[in-house]
């Protein structure tokens, strides 16, 4: 990383199967408790459906399923992180979200070459803060719209 980038950026930290992930705070609109989700038919399983977010119909992605992890029952600590990216507003279901951390741009490294980790392609880098390893997500890849249709043949 270039020497000139020494500013701190705030990240929202959340848990997913005992690992910690991070999204820049400026991409996050809000963090919600999980509410009733309306299923939308014809979509890939990781898109759980839509919720009513203060009058705005917002699609919800289960990040566990998106990363190919096993699905678990939602608990009291389950959260929906509402992000806005590229004109889209989407909620991400995570196990828990309870931390905001300043990350120095210098401490961000490209992701290590790990083979066989499903979420590897959605990672933009990692940051080491003290003893913690934060995985930074590549939102653009997570929100790839080409993958959400279960059956793309129907489209004429």
């Amino acid at each position: 990383m270039a020497e000139t980038l020494t500013e701190d950026i705030k990240f929202i930290v959340f848990q997913l199967k005992e690992k910690e992930y991070a999204i820049p705070v400026n991409k996050v609109n809000s963090i919600e408790k999980i509410e009733h989700i309306t299923r939308v038919p014809g979509l890939t399983p990781y898109v759980k459906g839509v919720i009513n977010l203060r009058g705005v119909v917002t699609p919800i992605i289960d990040l566990r399923l998106r990363f190919g992890l096993e699905e678990i029952k939602y608990t009291e600590s389950t959260r929906v992180i509402i992000i806005s990216f590229d004109d889209m507003e989407v909620g991400l279901i995570v196990d828990a979200a309870n931390d905001v951390i300043d990350v120095n741009m210098n401490s961000i490294e490209p992701q290590p070459e790990v083979v066989g980790v499903a979420e590897a392609e959605y990672i933009s880098g990692v940051a080491k803060i003290d003893k913690r390893l934060l995985i930074l997500l590549d939102l653009e890849k997570i929100l790839n719209r080409d993958e959400i249709r279960l059956d793309s043949k129907i489209e004429g």
């Binding site: 009058g55 705005v56 119909v57 889209m88 507003e89 249709r149």
Partner: protein, 685 residues
């Protein structure tokens, strides 16, 4: 009068166009080389011309037409922008403004514009406007015809009022002219006026008031006003009655004699003739001042407008906040039901009613039936057909389709252009039609309907269609494409060419359409609304222009149905009816389950399977079927149960979920949950 309901729209839009003309002209003064600005002004002027011609304001149309010619010359680099030219154009815009204001004040919008027109003509010919300057200045400002507000002390009576007076006298009524003075410290003058009118109307009939009632209501008078009344009461009684209204200082009653009026009428007539002669003869110096004054009064009056414009964004926020409120209301209702507290229950019920009313108001604020735009077309088409010597039958379908206010406001101009286009270029003249074996009368169908996430407006004519070869030739000639690319274009791409800027297939420039503005404006406007326009055309058979508009927000009536635990909404517009059918009534035809519905074979669609609803495979003896249609095709949607009808706000699924199969959008139900809206058009093939 028939035109009255459009007058307001016309005035508002004209003001807007003039405003933008003015603004852009100022821009042009700073950047005289910028042709884009000229194009903008030109378009505004063009639309204004069309509108005023439709409304029958000839002077307005002719001046705009002349202005347009000059702008056209500038646009085509035949003229360059000079301060002199701009001066004249500004003057023309000023005149247009004065005319529009005169119309807004109830005048006839007539104005002597010949001098400005002369000047514009000179410019168009490439001569300097300087010579015309001096005498033109006089004329431009001379006769502003506004209806006289009659500020004179004693009322004057027109022919009609005179007749009324005459007749009432015959029937034994007495006519009085009552001058009422209010106390100087009277605060609510309008209220007092109202009370005076109320008592007067009990004893007789008010024929006239000076100043007129609307000005009285706005307290646009000093302390005194005059009312003419016919009544059977005598003077003294009338006076007593009026004096009973508080804060009335003085009442003066004069009996009206018919002869007196006659005499007065004649003198004023002569006077006004004299005066108008004078206006013509007056010297340069004092006329502008007078005109100036009149202009000022007219600008002042327009402030009395009773509507305000609100940014749609604010309405969006309001609506979203309100929906939150609705959800909480649902919860409150639940709580009050559980607690069984009488007082709480009553309060919540009251709140529910109020929020219900509030909801209607908020929702309706944004939605307008497309009728408000469509309404003005029949007249326009009739007029155009006459001008063009064609026989046209305009059919309007789906005028009740509701559209978001934002869309309605913008869609008027493009539609005007498209209809003009269909009449001018599309339909043939009666003899040509006859020769081609068609009905002499051409048909233009204007159709609006909801489909999926969109509202479609189609303009369909059975005219000549688009001649592909002619379009290509023209496009090449106008340098829009070159010959090489021309040969590779598909039919659709060729048709698209007519939307290019500076394209016109009409051989002659006509007043109606055909300067090559219009279609490109249409395309731009629609695209700026997030919509699209497409053309289908068969040579000799006619063309269809189809405008697709996004349904950013619209309210639709739906039938809520339940499938297992999931709720779906089916738009009422596509439902024919609902039915319960026995399992035994279902027939099999080529792997397709069908029912016999009123003599027609209707295929059945199991929404449970189409929407992959997780289910416990528990088959009922009866099926609940919603019979829906798309055009003349029908299908039966099998659901578990019907919940009921409801008005809902249609919301999009957002930018992430675009194009979900058979789902046109979503809505938020009273309990805060999201229900998906079924797109019946996608289900019926």
């Amino acid at each position: 009068m028939e035109l009255n309901q459009y007058l307001e729209v016309f005035i508002e839009e004209s003001k807007e166009h003039l405003q933008s003309c003015n603004a852009r002209l100022l821009d042009l003064e700073k950047n005289p080389e910028d042709i884009d600005i000229v194009n903008d002004i030109f378009r505004s002027a063009h639309t204004l011309k069309g509108m005023s011609a439709t409304m029958g304001y000839e002077d307005l149309a002719s001046l705009t037409h002349q202005m347009e010619n000059v702008l056209d010359a500038i646009r085509n680099h035949k003229l360059s922008v000079t301060p002199e030219i701009l001066d004249v154009v500004f003057q023309a815009v000023d005149d247009l403004e004065a005319m529009v204001f005169s119309i807004a004040d109830g005048g006839d919008g007539k104005r002597n514009v010949t001098e400005v027109v002369e000047k514009l003509k000179l410019i168009e010919k490439g001569e300097s406007p300087q010579q015309a300057q001096s005498q033109a200045e006089v004329a431009a400002t001379s006769t502003v015809v506004t209806t006289s507000t009659g500020a004179s002390f004693k009322s004057e009576y027109d022919e009609f009022e005179y007749t009324v007076l005459e007749q009432s006298k015959e029937q034994g009524f007495e006519a009085y002219e009552i001058t009422i003075a209010l106390r100087e410290d009277c605060l609510l003058k309008a209220a007092r006026v109202y009370m005076v009118f109320e008592v007067l109307e009990k004893v007789g009939e008010v024929i006239k008031s000076t100043p007129p009632v609307d000005q009285l209501e706005e307290e646009q008078f000093d302390q005194e006003f005059t009312v003419s009344i016919v009544s059977k009461e005598n003077q003294e009684d009338l006076k007593k009655i009026i004096m009973k209204v508080s804060e009335v200082e003085k009442v003066e009653i004069n009996a009206i004699s018919l002869e007196g009026i006659r005499n007065k009428q004649e003198t004023t007539k002569a006077e006004s003739e004299e005066e108008s002669k004078k206006t013509v003869e007056t010297t340069n110096s004092d006329v502008p001042a007078e005109a100036e004054q009149k202009k000022q009064t007219s600008t002042g009056k327009q402030a009395s407008n009773k509507t305000i414009r609100v940014n749609i964004e604010r309405l969006d926020i309001l609506l979203n906040l309100f929906e939150e409120l609705v959800i909480d209301r649902g919860r409150l209702e639940q709580i009050s039901n559980d607690l069984k507290n009488q007082e709480l229950h009553e309060t919540v019920e009251r709140m529910s009613r109020i929020t219900g009313d509030l909801q209607n108001i908020i929702l309706n604020m944004r939605m307008v039936p497309v009728e408000t735009v469509f309404n003005r077309f029949p007249r326009m088409v009739r007029q155009l057909a006459r001008d063009l010597g064609k026989k046209v039958n305009l059919e309007i379908i789906g005028a009740e389709t509701e559209l978001d206010r934002t869309v309605i406001d913008e869609i008027g101009d493009p539609l005007v252009h498209l209809i003009r286009n269909a009449l001018d270029h599309g339909l043939e003249t009666p003899d040509v039609r006859k020769a081609n074996g068609k009905n002499e009368e051409g048909t233009v169908v204007l159709k609006a309907f909801h489909s999926g996430n969109h509202v479609f407006i189609e303009i369909d004519d059975d005219g000549a269609g688009i001649k592909k070869q002619k379009v290509l030739e023209k496009a090449i000639k106008n340098g829009i494409i070159n010959e090489q690319t021309a040969s590779t274009l598909t039919d659709k791409e060729v048709f698209e060419l007519i939307f290019a800027s500076g394209f016109s297939t009409a051989d002659k420039i006509s007043d109606v359409s055909g300067r090559g503005v219009g279609l490109d404006v249409v395309k731009n406007t629609i695209e700026s609304l997030g919509g699209a326009i497409s053309i289908e055309s068969r040579e000799g058979k006619g063309s269809t222009f189809s405008i697709q508009l996004p349904l950013t927000l619209s309210i639709i009536s739906v039938m809520l149905v339940e499938i297992e635990k999931e709720k779906f909404a089916v738009p009422l517009s596509s439902i024919i009816e609902t039915a319960i059918v026995k399992k035994a009534e279902i027939l099999n035809a080529h792997n397709q389950k069908v029912i016999d519905f009123r003599g027609k074979v209707v295929p059945l669609l199991f929404l449970k399977d189409i929407f992959q609803v997780p289910s416990q495979e528990e088959e009922d003896e009866f099926y609940s079927v919603v019979i829906v249609r798309k055009g003349d095709k029908m299908a039966g949607l099998i659901v578990d149960s019907f919940i009921g009808q409801q008005e809902v706000v249609l919301k999009s699924l957002g930018n992430y979920l675009t194009n979900v199969f058979a789902i046109s959008g979503a809505t938020i139900l009273g309990d805060g949950q999201v229900a998906l809206i079924v797109d019946c058009n996608a289900l019926i093939k």
